[in-house]
Subunit: 323 residues, 2 copies
Amino acid sequence: MITFEEALSLITQKTGDIRFPKQPARLYAPIAYLLALKGKKLRPALTLLACSLYKDDVRVSINMALAWEIFHNFTLMHDDVMDKADLRRGEPAVHKKWNENTAILSGDAMLIMAYKYLAKYPISCLKELLDLFSTTATEICEGQEYDMQFENRLDIREEEYLNMIRLKTAVLLGACLKSGAVLGGAEAKDQDLLYDFGINLGIAFQIQDDILDVYGDAAVFGKKIGGDILCNKKTYLLVSALNSNNEEARAELLSWLQVNDQPEQKIEAVTKLYNRQLLREKARNQMDSYYKKAIRSLNEVDVASEKKTVLMEIAKELMNRKT
Amino acid sequence: MITFEEALSLITQKTGDIRFPKQPARLYAPIAYLLALKGKKLRPALTLLACSLYKDDVRVSINMALAWEIFHNFTLMHDDVMDKADLRRGEPAVHKKWNENTAILSGDAMLIMAYKYLAKYPISCLKELLDLFSTTATEICEGQEYDMQFENRLDIREEEYLNMIRLKTAVLLGACLKSGAVLGGAEAKDQDLLYDFGINLGIAFQIQDDILDVYGDAAVFGKKIGGDILCNKKTYLLVSALNSNNEEARAELLSWLQVNDQPEQKIEAVTKLYNRQLLREKARNQMDSYYKKAIRSLNEVDVASEKKTVLMEIAKELMNRKT
């Protein structure tokens, strides 16, 4: 058994140990740069922790964890280009520090690099891990595609939104956990339960993100409150509000979506609209329901419950986070 | 044994048989679009033909050939964004028909898709193919990086240029052939000889490309003659001219590189500079020397020489092509 802190420090150490070819410098420097930025490292930690449920020595799962971490950072490098996001973890995004071509090409090299870590596994589990990895990676592309589509749509159904965040965010948590279980030697049933734990936790996590953007504590949130409102980002709250039967509220909301020059007023007005329709409560309930589903799956996992405390605590903390 | 035409028609059929998920349409439609454009399909054909040297039934190599074809088209989709190339095979490039974000994301999905075709192979050869594929893919990214770097450099040494085209173009031909040999059951020595055949043929092919851009027959070339000259593309000819010891010629060349508003005069003047320094002859000699190396490797491959006729003919045709 390892703790969350031990998992994180192992990942940090192993990520730092990665050596890149010296040339061409401009292909590899952006990869080293992005991997060295202080990220959550939640995903690779989940792989180690899932493995740790079944094996005392988690070293077997390190290359898998690195493959996920490299893959996740590849998606960030390309998403930041697509979303025109200038900052990543408080530092210039790769396409700003270098340029877009560099972000595209280094991202491509990073995706291939993730497969190289995967390919280090022996043939006994290689095929299974490869299938899980490619399926998950494809789903994440699909999620990003839906997310971009939603920018131009006002008729998104709640199920569509939930499906998008499942693809874009949740399947990765599920797959990180499942792969760790596979490498730990878990039975298929446990692998699937841990996958479901990750999926539901991931969806709850994203709804929480949507709530924090509007209702977070400005003092600790780290980002400006209302950022999603300002850019009309389709969040759980906005999608719910757009699906409201209250025609008057809907019309008011639609008119605020056109406003670009009154940031404070827009945030205040849209927040009030959410408040009046009790959307914060609705989102919290939805989040809680996914969180509970996650916990039910974790409870069913066939290992001693004290072993599951670490994952239980991580789930709890994610739901109580302020940032 | 299969013929080149049979290989091409098998690839065309199998590429046409690929079924994509219906949704999200905008992720998959660009992939289907690019794969359906009339391309040379030389690379996947080489895989089938190399396999065919050792096995009468080449069906075992089809998924590998498709993986290469999908991978190659992924590089085209991303390269066209990076190079701001508006046309691909005479049709709008994906980033023009849709937009850059679509080309980035569908390209990513395509790279993952190539790995999915690879993952269909049984574990007995999966690891070997995976390593070859990822190594080659990484080298191609390195080649593209050098090619982009060269845009801003005037001090490229000839070896650097040859290394760039080896990475960007030649390793793919080598790897396509080698993977076909692996799947055909060839000995390691033959695998390596076919790889070398591909590498040297690929370098000769690219030098030929550089020559055709300046000295091709406008009536059959398909593109405007002198396109590389107009955009100061670092070709074998330009790199050679920039390395000239003739200071006067070099100064004249450098001044033409600054000219953007006299296309006809620029093409004429630069071509004359090349002519005076006999660079067409130099390039042809260099090309012939790589071609001969390629043929020597093919001759050494340990199968009956009549079996090698197809590859020999392809090599010969590539060297005598007009487009």
